[in-house]
């Protein structure tokens, strides 16, 4: 198996798990190829589409997608991503990345050390999807 196959396979696994597998392709491109950053990001976005489509079909069959929440979330998200893309052209990119990075750092540390189970609707907890 080539490095490109391993990278795509692992990216597929983490993308399908909703873990942001994109970072894996970016690392592959920067370590093993001389692909430009913008092309790497473009390829990354493109390969997520078939991966996500297949995953969504599988999760839907297994009853794991809360469409009532997903639809308004996706609708408002897609609209505001245009606003975000516009704002990105008028704000300082480096500062933005650092700010977001610090936010994720705090959230990640909190989540890593958070108590085992949060209060969730009882009927949902511990359910298995096999």
């Amino acid at each position: 198996m080539s490095a490109e196959a391993v990278a795509a396979l692992v990216a597929g696994i983490f993308s399908a798990m909703g873990m942001g597998g994109g970072g894996i392709m970016i690392i592959y491109f920067s370590l093993f190829t001389s692909t430009s950053q913008i092309l790497a990001q473009g390829i990354n976005v493109l390969i997520f589409i078939p991966i996500a489509l297949l995953s969504v079909i599988i999760y839907h069959i297994k009853g794991m997608i809360e469409w009532k929440i997903a639809i308004p979330f996706a609708l408002f998200g897609t609209l505001s991503s245009y606003l975000g893309a516009y704002l990105a052209t008028v704000t300082d990119d480096a500062l933005l990345s650092k700010g977001f990075g610090i936010l994720l750092l705090i959230m990640g540390i909190r989540q890593l050390f958070s108590s085992k189970d949060k209060k969730l609707p009882k009927k949902d907890s511990g359910q298995k999807f096999i």
Partner: protein
């Protein structure tokens, strides 16, 4: 009435903030979407729902990448077959792993993304 409003507005607010970050940084929306979705959905379903939520945002960024000429579909084709096999494995793993393990792996990803963003 009020309860109904709350139910509708929370995903909408989560979507707005997720989309804003996704648009600003070009990616990373999932990292923001998961904490929002986890407020009302249990972890496994939150991750599955996250993929559905990020997909349309990703399609709109893909369209802008393609229209700007930064990437073409043929650049991505060599990776798609392996990516799809990975997707099948990923959906199986998400169902098999415990919610707690998923939370731990995700928090490590968050920290990794944080370090990458701070030092990029």
């Amino acid at each position: 009435m009020k309860r109904h409003d709350k139910k509708v507005s929370r995903p909408a607010l989560g979507g707005l903030i997720t989309g804003l970050f996704n648009g600003l940084l070009g990616a990373g929306g999932g990292m923001i979407a998961i904490p929002f979705l986890s407020k009302s959905i249990e972890p496994k379903k939150a991750h599955a729902t996250c993929v559905a939520v990020i997909l349309p945002m990703c399609i709109s960024s893909a369209l802008s990448y393609i229209s700007s000429g930064a990437v073409s579909i043929s650049d991505a084709t060599p990776y798609i077959a392996w990516g799809l096999i990975g997707a099948v494995l990923g959906t199986i793993l998400l169902r098999k792993l415990s919610s707690n393990t998923i939370k731990r792996i995700f928090s490590l990803f968050m920290l990794w993304a944080a370090v990458r963003l701070i030092f990029r």
